[in-house]
């Protein structure tokens, strides 16, 4: 076979793989609609519910894509979100201002996130190592904040205070605004390209003059912004916060990113929209299983099998002789 043919076939295969996550989402949506119609469920409410349940994970995971593209990961995202939400709620308790609450959520999330990357630079450690240490610190901080607030084991923002912004319109606005920033930074600025290069081949990237620390700081700052917005949206959805708040977010983010077709190793094949596709796919899958009234153990098993399949397929795609292009 001549080179042109191989190249053509490879291109076609790549194209199919790149569309696979979106196709999976479409198939899941079709399945969801089929079940919904068959079981006569409340479709408008369900669609609203799917958006409600996906939006926080999409926001946080889209920010995290910048970290994953570098070939790194942040295990402390959920704990960061919990601390930021608690600080935001405490600020609201003292100022009764939603704007101040939003500012506090974002500021604390960005500071925590940046601390991880700066510490990694100072001590010359892999970033994920500092995020592991940060996870322990943040879990302790959660207990300290709750204790310091003196309101038992919870910190609450009055439900009436956030009811006006607990709407799909507001959440979509926040989501789209943040997505626009991320897509711009990832696809239209040097940042995205440099991160892909660094994630794909750190040695070549460093020899080309790219500074890993600077890129990590930018990535963590953008991820922190997402975590802060996620914390704010969490308060609007459920204004009673406890030490368990956002407990599943860290894992949901990882699963969503992988489900959306993002290679776990980062690099050139990273896609900014992976988080959106993955989070929506996961929520649709959960809804389908709920409609089938599967017990949660079986649901988890099904998700685990699908997760393995997706990772298997995506890894299979990445081990070819032709470089990504």
């Amino acid at each position: 076979m001549d080179n042109e043919k191989i190249l053509k076939r490879e291109k076609l295969r790549r194209m199919l793989f790149s569309f696979a996550p979106a196709a999976g989402l479409v198939i899941l949506f079709a399945l969801f609609m089929a079940f919904a119609i068959a079981q006569d469920i409340n479709i408008p409410y369900s669609l609203k519910n799917i958006l409600n349940q996906s939006v926080i994970v999409i926001v946080v995971a889209t920010g995290a894509i910048f970290i994953y593209t570098l070939g790194s990961f942040d295990i402390s995202l959920g704990a960061n979100m919990c601390v930021s939400a608690l600080i935001g709620a405490m600020v609201y308790g003292r100022t009764e201002s939603l704007v101040m609450m939003l500012g506090a959520c974002i500021a604390s999330a960005v500071i925590i996130s940046l601390t991880c990357s700066v510490l990694a630079s100072v001590f010359n450690l892999p970033v994920f190592v500092t995020t592991i240490a940060m996870l322990s610190l943040l879990n302790a901080a959660v207990l300290m904040l709750i204790g310091a607030n003196g309101t038992g084991d919870i910190i609450q923002v009055p439900a009436e205070a956030v009811s006006s912004i607990n709407t799909i319109q507001f959440k979509l606005f926040v989501l789209l605004a943040y997505l626009a920033v991320c897509v711009f930074a990832f696809s239209f600025l040097k940042l995205g390209r440099q991160e892909k290069f660094m994630g794909g081949n750190p040695v070549c990237a460093a020899l080309s003059g790219l500074n890993n620390s600077k890129l990590a700081i930018c990535a963590f700052a953008l991820a922190g912004l997402g975590v802060g917005l996620g914390a704010f949206l969490t308060i609007t959805y459920a204004p009673t916060l406890s030490r368990n708040t956002a407990g599943s977010v860290g894992m949901d983010v990882i699963i969503s990113i992988v489900f959306g077709g993002m290679p776990v190793s980062g690099g050139a094949r990273s896609r900014i929209y992976s988080a959106s596709i993955g989070a929506l796919s996961m929520t649709l899958l959960s809804q389908i299983m709920l409609m089938m009234n599967l017990n949660s153990g079986i649901s988890q098993m099904v998700k685990a099998v699908i997760f393995l399949l997706v990772v298997f397929i995506s890894m299979n795609d990445g081990r070819k002789t032709i470089l990504p292009r």
């Binding site: 409410y45 406890s242 949660s296």
Partner: protein
């Protein structure tokens, strides 16, 4: 290698497909017989969502078994269970899921944010009931007139206090004076555990003729515990001594170390636990010591009582959630059970207390039966559309003997 991968992908796909196919056939029957003599309409399937904070504990599994293996087979209802809910956001999501799936009512075992749960259900015209718990006085005042709030049936805080008090008194009456206490979720400000601990301490104050950091009665003891930020300490209470106190559910080496240290202390005669007695002290308990707990009647608990590992068990019985189911079904089918003023139910239920293996075995035999449980359909049917007084009378007769008498 390539073909191996293909086979692996195919195998995983088959596993997935068959799992889904096998499980999707498990729904409850649609249609069925028409209205029974008691007025219950069995012709339409009623979907009820169940919010759970614990999906794997023995007590949670026993409750689930009663609903799925008895109630769902007796009535034309389908129970949809949430995942294990650990925070208010997860509860809100689960309620949204149930509403989207046309659940007509929600029975809640989760309590991160009950007011938010009730508001969401009421906004969406879905009935809401609390199983095995109660609302605080302030919360009840806020929601008692809401037509979608069915009510709460379960041990109220006075009952929890009494459970702790009775447990400690049982051993104090035997002349025991050296205790170790496991306070469970007391450090997390969980009222249920705080009140049980307070009950134990008050009983010790009465028997020992002393005070616990200056507190000796119900009101002052609760106040003292909150004043100490729910972080209790060992103390001498007159002639009685709390030799050791452990709180929280850290499940790390340090936590297990503290439990072992308490049980290995030769001075400790009795290990009192507000819950999870088998998970905490059972592995470390000395033969000469007594172990008491609040839990549920499971095969493990009965075996522990038989072997002498556990000596006192105040347990919820799984059928205790039968009356709240019937109150919920009644409301869904247009016959809500309300007080004379139209207010929601707020009824207390207590525990079955076993102090011997024979008693525990007797209770467990009834509690674990899926053919003839403590509350059968015939008994529950009498509650459909009942007056508040009749309903309250039924619920208040919760002791094992009273329930057996009701059956006759």
């Amino acid at each position: 290698m390539k073909s191996f991968r293909k086979i692996l992908v195919l195998a995983l796909s088959f596993v997935l497909t068959f799992t889904l196919a096998a499980c999707s056939g498990g729904g409850s029957s649609e249609g069925g017989s028409s209205a029974s003599e008691g007025g219950i309409d069995d012709s339409k399937n009623v979907k009820i969502g169940v919010l759970v904070a614990d999906a794997t504990g023995a007590e949670a599994l026993a409750f689930r078994s009663y609903y799925e293996n008895y109630i769902a087979k007796q009535y034309n209802v389908t129970f949809m269970y949430s995942d294990e809910l650990t925070d208010a956001a997860a509860e809100a999501s689960a309620i949204d899921n149930f509403i989207a799936n046309n659940c007509k009512a929600i029975i809640s075992f989760a309590s991160s944010d009950r007011p938010a749960q009730i508001r969401k259900c009421a906004e969406n015209k879905v009935y809401y009931a609390v199983a095995t718990g109660t609302l605080s006085d302030e919360e009840y005042a806020e929601f008692k007139d809401n037509e979608y709030y069915v009510g709460a049936i379960g041990p109220d805080l006075a009952t929890e206090f009494q459970a702790g008090y009775d447990m400690a008194k049982f051993y104090l009456d035997q002349g025991k004076t050296k205790f170790a206490i496991f306070g469970g979720a007391t450090p997390y400000y969980t009222d249920m555990h705080i009140y049980r601990t307070a009950g134990m301490l008050v009983a010790m104050c009465e028997a020992g003729g002393g005070t616990y950091n200056g507190a000796s009665d119900f009101g002052s003891m609760i106040g003292k515990i909150y004043e100490m930020n729910c972080q209790l300490e060992p103390a001498k209470i007159g002639s009685v001594e709390v030799v050791s106190y452990i709180g929280g559910y850290d499940f790390d080496d340090a936590w297990f170390g503290k439990l072992a240290e308490a049980a290995n202390n030769p001075n400790v005669e009795v290990l009192l636990t507000v819950g999870s007695g088998l998970d905490t002290f059972a592995a470390f308990k000395q033969e000469s010591q007594q172990l008491a707990t609040v839990d549920s009647y499971t095969s493990d608990a009965v075996a522990a009582m038989k072997s002498g590992v556990l000596n006192y068990l105040a347990g919820k019985y799984s059928a205790s959630i039968g009356p709240i189911f019937m109150a919920t079904l009644s409301a869904v089918q247009g016959k809500p059970i309300r007080t004379a003023n139209g207010e929601a139910l707020a009824l207390s239920q207590g525990y079955w207390v076993a102090t011997s293996a024979e008693e525990a075995e007797k209770f467990y035999a009834v509690d674990s039966s899926t053919e003839d449980p403590a509350y059968t359909r015939a008994m529950l049917d009498t509650l459909f559309g009942a007056s508040y007084d009749d309903f309250a009378k039924f619920v208040s007769a919760y002791s094992f003997e009273e329930i057996q008498n009701l059956k006759k």
